[in-house]
Subunit: 201 residues, 2 copies
């Protein structure tokens, strides 16, 4: 009907979970918004995508050379938690429980998707290990074949630093999850790694 509308719908529907119907609904809604408000949306996205930088230390999102976490002197510099994506950092930060640093790999080794070890920020992790006072590396990668492969690869590469302790996050049944709906591997792992309940004495 209108080429401008068509273009907007086509472009918007390239985003995940936004189909043509949603894209049309969003476009028509923006037509009822102030021009200025819509310009603010597009500008903030443009600035974000064009000007965002990555922390030179941990590869996390950053507006400056170093991200706020690496800059924060109150954080424990002896522990580094290795994650796949930026979103993982946010998930862990939300718990307010972890006070160490992070290292964002940018993915996992996946020959299927053409991601090799050189596409990940493993060398940066090793050079940090060389320079810094790292005592423990926590691997918080997914439990997929790709994640396990990456975990194995990083463990091997870190062998040159025998003083660094390597650990992985605990696997088990999540709080609020039911046994009935958990998969066999998780249940088996949860039983094998059962923890003793402290008795009142």
């Amino acid at each position: 009907m209108s080429k401008l509308l068509d273009d907007a719908v086509n472009e918007l529907s390239k985003l995940p979970s936004i189909g043509r119907r949603t894209a049309l609904r969003l476009s028509l809604h923006m037509l009822r918004m102030d021009v200025q408000q819509v310009n603010m949306i597009t500008e903030s996205i443009g600035k974000f995508r064009n000007n965002i930088r990555y922390c030179s230390c941990c590869n996390n999102l950053s507006d400056n050379e170093l991200c706020p976490i690496c800059e924060d002197l109150s954080r424990d510099r002896s522990i580094v938690c290795v994650v796949e994506h930026i979103g993982d950092v946010m998930s862990i930060e939300k718990t307010n429980q972890y006070k160490g640093l992070y290292h964002v790999l940018g993915g996992v080794i996946s020959p299927m998707h053409g991601t090799g070890p050189s596409d990940l920020k493993v060398d940066l992790l090793l050079s940090n290990a060389q320079k810094n006072e790292i005592q423990e590396v926590i691997l918080a990668l997914s439990t997929t074949i790709e994640g396990e492969t990456t975990q194995f690869y990083i463990t091997r590469r870190l062998e040159e630093f025998p003083d660094i302790k390597i650990s992985t996050i605990a696997r088990g049944i999540g709080f609020g999850d039911e046994l009935e709906f958990s998969d066999e591997l998780t249940i088996a792992h949860a039983i094998h790694n059962r923890t003793k309940i402290a008795k009142y004495e």
Copy 2:
């Protein structure tokens, strides 16, 4: 964490049905897209919102002075279907059954939302009625109090053209809808306005 990301999330979550979680997911996805692709999205939205025009005849979306429907000489200029929003035109056009023209009011009379008759394109409809060869006006407004009020108002205003037939779209049980789940008003209306079934002779 990053002000640029925060801004993008804040702005995106102003759109309907996009909460903060979805806005964050969309932002992180755009980070994995090419800068150029993201710029195409923002540019197409910006162009759409800033350059879109409304048809000077029917108030439909348009890239030019007249919309493609008003410009199409094969359409029946004696019938005008009055709708609330641009989306309604698209819905009716998709049926491929209606060959007349449209008139987009831009809303309905709603004192609650501060929309009075002067905020709608009723005068444009009347001036079209004066100039053109309109024989029938179909009112396809919602069956809310606001819709009924608007219908009543337009009917009154059109009284100065006694030759123009005014009709409204048929109400009834939709194809595929079940009686059990239809509301009383619709069922009552559907029974009252029952249509005779032609018998084979």
